[in-house]
Point group: C2
Chain length 134, copies 2
């Protein structure tokens, strides 16, 4: 058995977006009145863009946000984490709004669901791997 140590190995941008697209839920991270805010939402990765449908669109749209997902097994403490950073933009085209409404249920039902696209200017991903005992 190895020790408890884990290290991070960097993932490529395509692999990071592939992992992100393989899970249904992540967290949108933004700023409200200079305070950090974070809300879990459902997402799709479509043509290399992250799309979410959320009631916090009004607080995010037009700003640089982070979008994060991870899958970490707490028994062996292995897994991965991906963060996308970029500008969040409202999708306004009715056909696109309908397209995503059909494919992406909001995690929480609300009156003011908006469809938001995040342009992934920065993509960072890492995998937790066992570090050989030295």
């Amino acid at each position: 058995m190895g020790g408890d140590s884990r290290r991070l190995t960097e993932l490529s941008r395509p692999e990071s977006l592939r992992l992100l697209g393989g899970v249904p839920v992540g967290r949108i991270v933004y700023t409200v009145r200079a305070l950090p805010a974070i809300v879990p939402v459902c997402h799709l990765v479509d043509n290399g863009m992250v799309v979410v449908r959320t009631h916090v669109g009004g607080e995010c749209a037009g700003s640089v946000v982070a979008y994060q997902a991870d899958a970490i097994d707490m028994v062996d403490r292995l897994g991965w984490m991906v963060t996308v950073t970029g500008v969040a933009r409202r999708i306004l085209d009715p056909d696109e709004v309908e397209y995503y409404a059909d494919r992406l249920p909001p995690l929480v039902s609300a009156d003011a669901i908006e469809t938001i696209r995040i342009y992934p200017e920065i993509v960072t991903g890492a995998r937790l791997v066992n570090e050989p005992d030295s």
Copy 2:
């Protein structure tokens, strides 16, 4: 069977901290050069405070951060989410540092692990529950 809708019911501060303390991993959310940043870490809830050991302490300490955990079952889309917002402070007392080093392995091994305490000035928690069909 009900519809797909989920709504949020607010959780009390004690219940939120109890749920947070019952899971080993969350995410620290902070700001680096005006950009949102988020990193998964292991945590303890001790005397109502959140304690983490992380290599991003230098970027967080002295700032208001958010600390978030959730447990959302993606099959039935039920679960909970908790966010603590408050100032992150380095723990410097050697006895306290050692106490937490014995109880809280860092998620990722690194040379510059710091012990950080987050004072929960704001605690928000919510549970995803089924919304009866109207």
